[in-house]
């Protein structure tokens, strides 16, 4: 049986879900204003005079990259070998890769 659907309609039927995914992403992004957690964090930053994100806590020059004397030749780094940017490329130690306990 010959399909009555024109090929151009078929093309639009394929494109429509793709467009829906794209505009769905746009709508999701535009519908979110300042996240609730951001207001709380901004209050803490202002109250305690915080200067850095707690992303890389292994050494002082990674925990507070904006405050560290990074011009010094050698940095002491207790417990870890996190260096910019190698820390981003090296896998974490096995301890951290094990699934968390109950």
């Amino acid at each position: 049986m010959k399909s009555s659907l024109r090929k151009s309609t078929l093309a639009m039927l394929v494109l429509a879900p793709a467009l829906a995914v794209f505009f769905g992403a746009m709508a999701d992004a535009l519908s979110q204003g300042e996240a609730a957690d951001e207001a709380a964090m901004r209050t803490e930053v202002a109250a305690w005079g915080l200067t850095d994100l707690a992303l890389f806590t292994e050494a002082r020059y990674t925990r507070h990259p904006t405050q560290a004397d990074r011009h010094a030749a050698f940095q002491d780094h207790p417990g870890a070998l996190e260096h910019f940017p190698s820390g981003a490329l090296m896998p974490p130690p096995p301890l951290l890769r094990e699934p968390a306990g109950p």
């Binding site: 024109r6 090929k7 151009s8 093309a11 494109l15 793709a18 467009l19 995914v21 794209f22 769905g24 992403a25 992004a29 535009l30 979110q32 300042e34 996240a35 957690d37 951001e38 709380a40 964090m41 901004r42 803490e44 930053v45 202002a46 109250a47 305690w48 005079g49 915080l50 200067t51 850095d52 994100l53 707690a54 992303l55 890389f56 806590t57 292994e58 050494a59 002082r60 990674t62 925990r63 507070h64 990259p65 904006t66 405050q67 004397d69 011009h71 010094a72 207790p78 417990g79 870890a80 996190e82 910019f84 940017p85 820390g87 981003a88 490329l89 896998p91 974490p92 301890l95 951290l96």
Partner: protein, 376 residues
């Protein structure tokens, strides 16, 4: 025939042509979508985390003043507080007490702070959610840490800081100033560094310059430098990621170039026949423009949408390790989706336009040659 109907017939023909080689075109669409997905994921993650850092740190101290000794950060005498307070343009100076404590029990570094204005009670501590997690602590528990003199110092956990704010507070240990000095053996007449507020934010650079002249052993760190540092940290990481992805992108470009420029004998014959039955060169080009546009635009929409879901709703499992780094006290946080018109345009121009254009060149060459010679 009006323009719309004409384009629709062209599209009919284009889709029929694409469907004659379904395997080849579907695999192209799949690979194309994957490449857009990878590039968009890297760009979206980097943009979101930079936006987050900028939003959070815009209330950090306007200027932090550190004293340097032999090229290293040194403690700040209380007398400097008064000297800086006299500087024209300075609205407020505050001494800050903060440092690090390495906890061998969990092999993690804590950031210990003693905010002056907070009114923290002696013997009590407020801890970040990261510390509470790794040490298994809850309010009311006692946290015992070894001080500078080797003696244990006990702190009762008064509060676990909200998990919502882990991105700035996961490793924080907030204690009273007197406890801080006793724990680290710091005399009363020093601070870790000073935080300045300036009267007129537009003059912050002049104030910093005067400060460096008045106190040559100190270095000012401006808020704009703090923001710039995070911008560059994540730019660097995004660059690393894109450098790794560059191989995949190049492979795709070669694949697409080959697909787009190398017309098969069958395709050349098809163009010849179309020209022979009266199609104009412009019609053939329009048909191929539809073909390239349809594939690349579908791949762009799908790739971008999937990247959005990957980064903002699935926790970006492919890239988070590189972009966030790792640490024992890794904070849990969610990224806020953002739409950046420039970023979107760049991605569109880099992904859709080159492929669409590159498909036209060989077709134009074939379509301008005498149909008879093509079909022979």
């Amino acid at each position: 025939m009006n323009g719309f109907a004409r384009q629709r017939y062209l599209l009919d023909f284009t889709v029929a042509s694409l469907m004659r080689r379904p395997g080849r075109n579907l695999s192209l669409l799949l690979v194309y979508t994957l490449v857009v997905f990878l590039l968009a994921s890297a760009m979206l993650y980097s943009q979101a985390i930079k936006g987050k850092a900028a939003a959070l740190l815009r209330d950090s101290p306007e200027v932090v003043v550190q004293r340097m000794e032999a090229g290293r950060h040194a403690l700040m005498p209380v007398s400097y507080l008064e000297r800086l307070g006299r500087l024209r343009g300075v609205a407020h100076v505050e001494g800050r007490l903060w440092g690090y404590y390495y906890d061998p029990v969990v092999a993690a570094n804590y950031t210990v702070m003693a905010p002056d204005r907070d009114g923290a009670l002696p013997g009590q501590a407020r801890i970040g959610a990261g510390i509470a997690r790794v040490r298994g602590l809850a309010p009311g528990d006692v946290l015992s840490l070894r001080g500078y003199d080797g003696r244990p110092h006990a702190f009762t956990v008064a509060e676990v800081l909200p998990a919502d704010s882990e991105l700035v507070s996961a490793d924080l240990l907030l204690i009273a100033p007197a406890d801080f000095r006793a724990f680290f053996g710091l005399p009363e007449d020093v601070y870790t560094d000073l935080a300045l507020a300036v009267t007129n934010p537009a003059e912050v650079r002049q104030v910093a310059r005067k400060l460096a002249e008045r106190l040559p052993d100190c270095r000012p760190i401006l808020r704009e430098e703090v923001l710039r540092t995070y911008e560059s940290v994540f730019d660097w990481r995004e660059g690393l990621l894109l450098a790794v992805l560059a191989g995949a992108v190049c492979a795709f470009l070669i694949f697409a170039w080959d697909k787009a420029t190398g017309l098969s004998a069958e395709e050349r014959r098809e163009i010849g026949i179309l020209r022979a039955i009266g199609w104009e060169t412009g019609d053939v080009l329009r048909m191929k423009l539809w073909e390239g546009g349809l594939i690349s635009f579908t791949a762009f929409c799908l790739g971008y949408g999937l990247a959005h879901i990957h980064v903002f709703h699935a926790g970006a499992p492919l890239f988070a390790g590189v972009m966030r780094g790792w640490s024992v006290l890794q904070p849990h946080f969610a990224l806020t989706p953002q739409v950046d018109a420039l970023q979107l345009t760049t991605l569109f121009l880099l992904s859709v336009v080159p492929y669409t254009v590159v498909t036209l060149v060989p077709v134009w060459r074939a379509a301008t040659v005498d149909p008879d010679s093509i079909m022979r």
